[in-house]
Symmetry: D3
Subunit: 330 residues, 6 copies
């Protein structure tokens, strides 16, 4: 039977001007629905996991559109609640050449931010679940979503559910009163897999280290339950030309192949594709292969429009083996 996983997080509408236009030029916007955690859910569902995404959406047609979008990707929506409120959204201006991409967030005061953390019965929800995935974005949004995250993590831990945490420190959130340093460690401690770069570890766990390897060692000391810490190295040569390496620490530090990525189609969701790849990989492969799989999945995501990584397990594995690269498959 396929692993059962729950993901938790806000889903936003992404609005993107077409054809490399700047915000001030746009007369139409492409729209997709996504979020760091939902994007992980989508990848895992595409690959056969049994995934439910837990979120709160506005009780209107935009909320319904989000649900349809999740269902289309095979993500279960039984843990979605709808309430009065607005859908968080953000505007993405896609850069080109040296010109950077820009995001204007408009997510404050969303139905998700204002959710009632007590409406979910986590004890029941986590029965029979294998894995729970959350990110540092959720506790950064509001007191309500912080409380929700806390309850979820505790319930998951109590039921023996494995936990992955994408720390994902965002300076422009954390406006509601709590500080990440005082808040995050309690949440992070139960993680089996932690997605965190050195900045994340510094800002959210107070870990200052000379490099990733020693930061991980320190994190392990602080949070002994952690088995894996992972991050990626992204080198941005231009808005459409990046390079990517995946890094996985499990006592020692493993590194994936380095990928050159000219001609990027859409980099949003690239990190989430990586995380999904790692969760998938750690279920079926050894750590090095899991890492290679995750990085290949992330690379392929950059070739696909939208947040969702609509690739098969086979396609990522072929890329790991340098097969079919850029070919015309008849």
């Amino acid at each position: 039977m396929n692993p059962k996983i729950i993901t938790l997080g806000e889903i936003m509408m992404r609005l993107t001007p077409e054809s490399n236009q700047r915000f001030t030029q746009a007369s139409s916007f492409g729209a997709v629905y996504g979020g760091a955690e939902a994007n992980v859910a989508v990848s895992l569902a595409e690959w056969g996991f049994d995934v439910s995404h837990l979120t709160v959406l506005p009780e209107n047609d935009l909320g319904k559109a989000v649900i349809k979008s999740l269902r289309k990707s095979g993500v279960k929506t039984d843990l979605v609640r709808m309430h009065a409120g607005r859908l968080g959204l953000y505007f993405l201006e896609v850069g080109a050449m040296q010109r950077a991409s820009k995001i204007i967030y408009d997510r404050a005061d969303s139905a998700f931010a204002n959710l009632d953390p007590d409406q979910f019965d986590f004890e029941t929800i986590f029965k029979g679940v294998d894995w729970f995935h959350w990110t540092g974005i959720t506790p950064a949004i509001s007191e309500n979503t912080y409380l929700l995250t806390l309850k979820a993590i505790k319930a998951a831990h109590q039921q023996g559910v494995k936990i992955s945490a994408d720390i994902n420190y965002r300076r422009n959130l954390w406006k509601y009163g709590r500080s990440p340093l005082e808040t995050m460690p309690d949440l992070m401690q139960y993680s089996t897999l932690m997605v965190a770069g050195e900045t994340d570890l510094e800002n959210c766990a107070g870990i200052n280290s000379k490099d990733f390897q020693s930061a991980c060692a320190n994190a392990k000391e602080k949070f002994p339950g952690i088995q894996f810490i992972t991050s990626t190295e992204r080198n941005s040569i231009s808005a459409t030309h990046n390079q990517l390496v995946g890094i996985l620490w499990n006592g020692e530090t493993l590194r994936s192949k380095r990928y050159d990525m000219p001609g990027i189609v859409d980099r949003i969701g690239g990190g989430d594709a990586y995380i999904a790849g790692l969760i998938y990989g750690l279920h079926y492969f050894d750590p090095q292969k899991a890492l290679e799989f995750a990085t290949a999945a992330s690379v392929l995501k950059h070739s696909i429009p939208g947040d969702a990584n609509e690739i098969s397990v086979e396609e990522a594995l072929m890329l790991v083996e340098d097969k079919n690269v850029g070919k015309l498959l008849r």
Copy 2:
């Protein structure tokens, strides 16, 4: 010299699914910027008035896009201020046949709603101005925008500026604490021209009457300064087939020709085009011709995509005379 007019009000981004799609089907949205008052400003600027629109916008690229949009139409932006915050927006699903059009508002907590009413020096602003136009939407948004409206109206009145008020009662606003009945009459009393149907007069001035004629007489009694009260009769046969008549009370009740409007392209801004037409018409024509001009301008607006009524004075006058209707002009 051309009349100098100031308009005041919020400008929002309108996001519309393409090709009659429902919200749940849309993967892209057309975007235009507009607002009830700014739409009036645009019409008058297109027709040669010297128009400044006073508003507050977010200090980001979307705010800049609004400014560009105003400038493109010839509206002056010297009274625009930019502050931190978000741009109000709304989603419009365009109906078809019997299926109604739907709006999802997402305008709460905008930079405009949170504006500081004291940042404008209205005494200076209204020097040399001929006309001031406001709507009942602005005092319905927030205490701040109510105060701004009040200050503006008082200063305008004091300087002898003529005032038009589009009452435009919106049940889904007025959430911040004040009631329209207690708030609006003080604002309405200084109007020369009032745009109000019977519902508006009842909800905002407590005037209950058996018909428009007597409602207007009662309003005149209550607000003796008023010279004109106007409204339109719209008959919605389907989402793309309406009928329209303009009505103008100035002691007696004048009615325009009745227009049949099958094949509507975009009805948003139709009422604003009418008001602009009346303001224009009352400067240059007798009341009946002003009314005919306004109604013709409104009809033509329904044939044009976007909020802005990009028509010439001549085109509306030709329609008043039933000339060039549906022709191919070489």
Copy 3:
């Protein structure tokens, strides 16, 4: 608990030139996935029924796209099988004014047509199911699909599942050897609800009658289990202007309101929306209201691009009561 329904039938890709272009002008085609039975499934799922669609798809990305499309609408895909083969498709040229719409079918030899009728264990499948819906298209495609239909109907009947049959006689199918007259009556006999006009009854059950009323009486005599026979009267004034009345026989002949439909957006799926409306209505309303609901649902379908009738129960009910027609709902 919501009624549980199974629908059975082929799903095709519909390819449509854009902007009223003729086939010989088209350089791009809009694509949606649909089928007479799946369209019924989608409507019922949108309205809260628990719906599984049984079909066979090609084991390729186009097959996956069909599955995603079903899931998006909330239809369960546990009864979908994938095999080698092609996806049936058809090209639709959308007419305008007097110019008719045209379909070029390219559905022969599809994975569905070549399915193995023995791969489904219908005894298990129909456990706990309330309703089964099939159409006369399926037995008309191939011996295999005829056999599948036969097995399904028998199993459903045996388990006490109510059955609706959309006779839907298509002259251009029935090429594989069987004649409708010899084949269909055995399949039709178990229906509770039959969708059939006089031509259908004549061609598939040999019933010649002077009018719909007497045709129904004759059908009832021949198939005593039938409780309802339904049809629509469509008057095509032009490609985008039709009129529609729903008719329901249950001993006497009920007629719905007559709807005028100028400005049709997409008429494909209009009949399927009607059938879904009737199935829904007969679960919750009296026959006349069910008929009115079904006709209103069908009318609204004509305003929506694509095969799927993305409307709510409430919207159809409002139309039944002539409310919100063509309005702008804020």
Copy 4:
């Protein structure tokens, strides 16, 4: 063998803003190539005539695009010459509702206007040709194109080629020095079929009459060789709703069915489709049927985007018989 016909005239690029936008809103323009005479050529080639279009094009890629466009429709291009110069073009703003459509011409000084009238050996060209079609636009453009028309008509007449002339009086042409009244009668006299309304006959032949019937009688007196004079009555209810009747005088005045045309897709080329229909019809049908065929062909043209009337003979004949109107043909 199919009739052999030569058409002569300028081909222009038509640039049209999309989605009912006004010129001042457009950021992209649809482009097609057409001209009054080439449109006739295209219809006749689609229907099986052996058609060559004689014209002069600029020797650049836009000229090549015109040639490709002709070839696509089956029109022969052996009589096309390419020279230095520009391609004439015009901008078309498509109206909606009461708002008229507008054309901005930009055709002056084109390669066609500046052509050398002596470069064509008409004696050879007209060998074996059955029919020659020209319009009053060509002699109105420049002295060169006037001379070309004169030479062509004389050579055609000398070789016994039947001639159709679409008088098509355009006030905004005739700028190069000649007056239509002094110029056109010499050209018109050789026509077998003349397309001319009362205004055309007045402006180009000095014929003032109380109605079409008597104008035709006078024209016959003046140009005894003429056998048919034809025109259409177009009633423009709105930009997208016209009514059309074809009229054919051949001693008596025949009238076609009256067609109601709501939902017009593209009216450009509607008149040319009518003329082509008449030329076709007079080859194969009696005058009344020819007239009905021509009018039906013209009606169908209004349902098709672009100048070219991509319909079959059968489709027009079906419409003559009121068959298939607005149906869905499977």
Copy 5:
């Protein structure tokens, strides 16, 4: 006089999702018509050859669209026959970055596959013809198309027509019973120019060699009439970045310049453009220049959307000389 050439082969509709979308994301498909042999025909017609393409198409509007497409490019369609049946088609998913492009073929049972090989009178057809071009795809489709190819080749050979054969071995064809090894040599033996890589020679002629040079020598031994064997070396760095070298054996092995091709627009038809370039080049240039011309033509094809290589001879020659590369030509 320009060389007269006949090409023979199936033409398919190519359906391509837009903007790098995956099949599972696409809601619209761009459509072009092409085929390996027709693409050669189009290039040669654009360059002034007198080209007729022989094929069989379905007798419907899609078949007509194919004919219009050929005519637009200047290819004669007098050898096209239309019969009942379907148009073969294929879906192309355009890759990006490392992600490969994918083709889903849906060409089985087409009107072409089911053609009657005896309907063409090849003796008459090849009179006065200079060159005949066929590919190994045609005999791989069906017994009928094999027989057609055989008859055509024999007749061409008998009349002294030069023959080029693009071996183009496709593993996923050859399903109808014949084996390439037993079938192809008889067809290949009459070629003057053979397009074949080592795999083609191995699979279709049983020639196993250590390299291209010796494979060619062996082929020459086996088929003494052959004068030229050609192939290309394509290095796929990514889906949009390839490198290309042309190779021509005529006793010795010539190699073209190596082209770097980042930013490929459309690689379909790249090989056909090469072959057309070689056929053209061998008529006018020495072998090395012919090879350079062919390779340059192929490179330019990669910059053009669609199958057709809409470039001029001059443009390819400029690229051979490294002139105008990437410039802005005013």
Copy 6:
């Protein structure tokens, strides 16, 4: 107070096929309005200068569209005059890979070319103006525009306005009788800043030199008032991959960083963005920083669709410092 600048020059409509199509493939064209001098105006207005553009436009809706376009960018239009005539336009085919971009000009006989040079009162116009910018295109168009340029330059010089001249020698202009060598030096002599490469200096001032440095020295000798001469070195690797260096001579020759530009979005206006950058930079920075700013501004322009360089001063400065390059700014 912001510097006040006047620019003078023709504005044309640019028509561009979409998606890398060739002219012969295009069925729609994107449209923007621009010109070498207006593009400079737009950049400077975006950056806060007080800019008026002086030009003559046709008195029709296309002329109005140009005015709206200028206003949108913040350029004042008080010096725009409208007269009968046509709008100059050009067609741009965007190249790809090795395939060059191509322009077909259609600008002859425009309203601008036929302007009356005496309609502008330059003495009044230049009061209080800081800078005047013109290019060598204007005197190359017609005698009228030559005279206009001459009058403008003299008046500007007399009033102490600083002058920048973009020599911009165009071989395909200068058709009206004057030779650049006899005409340009008189116009060039008053420049403070001259944009000129060696070819420009040779063709317009008869300066032959072994390199840019000595050409500049010679120019300084000939035109002692000149303080700066500038040019760029562009290396075109492909149509979408260029390299750029800015060069500024002010006695010595300064060079900017060399930028690699793969993935160019739109190179039109790249040079104008550079010139605007230099004019801006020389107002606020030292020459080296001004040069770096100008080159960075030009590089960023290549990433933006359209002629207008919609970037902020900050964005160009960040690029000068290699910051934010290709990042995702949240």
